[in-house]
């Protein structure tokens, strides 16, 4: 990659254009030098795609919570970009327990302490957690 080939495609979503990157490229004298880059289109596209997938899945889950098929745990788990395995580690529970908490029936039986722990993991208040979708 030559210095003049260093991509300058701004990552114009979710504040991605707030920082530039350093890349190494070959100058006219054949020597490597570091150059600032605004971003690179293929990477921007792939990252945007990953975020769009998150948004789509989150919207679908929100519907399921509102219609009473899933509990707010499922919604906030996805909002925090987690999956069941990761959330289980944070909660200090088995995956099957977390899965049970993701159902409205399991969620209704959660102790205050457990609700508090989930709220802390999601960085929200207990009220925000219990009132979501109502």
């Amino acid at each position: 990659m030559k210095v003049n080939e260093v991509p300058q495609d701004p990552k114009d979503f979710r504040e991605g254009d707030k920082i530039t990157k350093v890349m190494y490229a070959v100058g006219d004298d054949g020597k490597y030098t570091s150059v600032n880059s605004a971003g690179w289109e293929p990477d921007n596209f792939a990252t945007k795609q990953a975020w769009d997938a998150v948004d789509e899945e989150l919207a679908a889950t929100e519907q399921l919570v509102r219609s009473g098929q899933l509990s707010p745990i499922a919604y906030y788990m996805q909002k925090c970009l987690m999956d069941v395995a990761l959330l289980a580690k944070y909660a200090g529970k088995w995956q099957w327990q977390v899965k049970r908490h993701m159902k409205p029936s399991g969620f209704a039986k959660l102790s205050d302490a457990m609700l508090q722990r989930y709220a802390e993991i999601f960085n929200i208040s207990v009220t925000a957690l219990t009132q979501f979708g109502k």
């Binding site: 990552k11 991605g16 890349m23 293929p42 990477d43 792939a46 990953a50």
Partner: protein, 334 residues
């Protein structure tokens, strides 16, 4: 608490960047490519059954913590590294190091670093940064992928250091205890290159080193049969993102390593290393072309066998070129 002067420079890669900044703080004037090369930072692995955020794990660099450890070992610099069982102990230990007037490097998860733009903040747990002081209740941070120094609240830093998932930082912290006034590069460069070639060419398992490029090529060819178009696109996207993991120029660290070979060639006055630097630059351009083609395929939402076959072939060709390249590099007579 004392706040020491820390000279921050932005770099391409977090761990070689942190290593460079910490060494420069000790008065050792090293470049980022040199740290990356001596630390044998370049690597490849594709582990289909290890899912990171739902996609198969792919990496173009060595495991976190390795670069700093190897560079300091090879330049005979005395260091301390430590993992912790609880955030309280980890933060206390950090405060003690800062009180002793030393900047500390540490592993973190980018998800919990509020100063980074949201676009970058996934659960990626192998990010390195330096904390060099504390002012009021905030820690002063030198993050090599950011242009200037920044600050972070203790709660956020504790969360970032104790993120769960793959891998888990467990508060991992490292700092330089003492360094010689002069360092010898020649042996360190040789050791770095030898280790890189070994890791690229020797692992007997299909998931690590050069072999894994062929494995990924084979998997990609099968994506249209095995995955929904959406999944296939996300899987491919993840490879591109790892390839361009903050500032590698889209070539999975190949340009950074080429810059190292060039600098080493100048320093040791070896034309062969300079020649290999040029060769690796060409291979890096091939990696970039692969990412371009993959992105085009994703945009067109094509899911036909032919285009995925072509992509697999492209990747296989890059893998074969790299294999020959590292064999030549391994055969160097020192």
């Amino acid at each position: 608490m004392s706040t020491l002067h820390f000279s921050h420079s932005q770099h391409a890669h977090c761990e070689s960047g942190v290593t460079t900044n910490l060494l420069r703080h000790q008065g050792i004037n090293i470049s980022e490519p040199m740290a990356f090369g001596i630390g044998a930072g370049i690597f490849f692995a594709h582990i289909p059954f290890l899912k990171v955020s739902g996609t198969p794990g792919t990496t173009f660099r060595t495991w976190p913590g390795a670069i700093f450890k190897r560079v300091t070992e090879r330049l005979h610099i005395d260091i301390h590294t430590q993992k912790f069982s609880t955030p309280e102990k980890a933060m206390q230990a950090l405060d003690n190091v800062l009180a002793a007037g030393k900047p500390a490097g540490m592993l973190s998860s980018v998800y919990y670093l509020p100063y980074l733009p949201e676009a970058f903040r996934f659960h990626f747990n192998a990010h390195n940064l330096v904390v060099y002081g504390k002012e009021g209740n905030e820690y002063l941070v030198s993050d090599p992928v950011v242009e200037t120094t920044t600050r972070i609240a203790p709660e956020d830093l504790a969360k970032a250091r104790f993120a769960k998932g793959t891998p888990e930082p467990k508060g991992f912290m490292y700092y330089i205890k003492s360094a010689p006034s002069q360092v010898q590069y020649e042996k360190a460069i040789q050791a770095g290159i030898k280790q890189t070639c070994f890791f690229m060419l020797s692992p007997p398992l299909p998931w690590f080193g050069n072999k894994a490029i062929g494995l990924l090529a084979k998997k990609i060819t099968k994506y249209p049969q095995k995955l929904t178009p959406r999944k296939a696109s996300l899987y491919l996207g993840n490879v591109i993102r790892m390839q361009e993991e903050i500032g590698t120029g889209g070539a999975g660290f190949r340009f950074l390593y080429a810059a190292f070979l060039q600098e080493a060639g100048q320093l040791l006055q070896r034309d062969d290393l300079q020649q290999y630097a040029k060769e690796l630059t060409t291979i890096g351009d091939d990696w970039r072309n692969f990412a371009y083609s993959a992105a085009r395929l994703m945009k067109d939402r094509k899911n036909d066998l032919v285009s995925f076959d072509e992509l697999g072939d492209m990747l296989r060709a890059v893998g074969d070129k790299e294999k020959q390249f590292f064999h030549k590099l391994q055969a160097i007579k020192w």
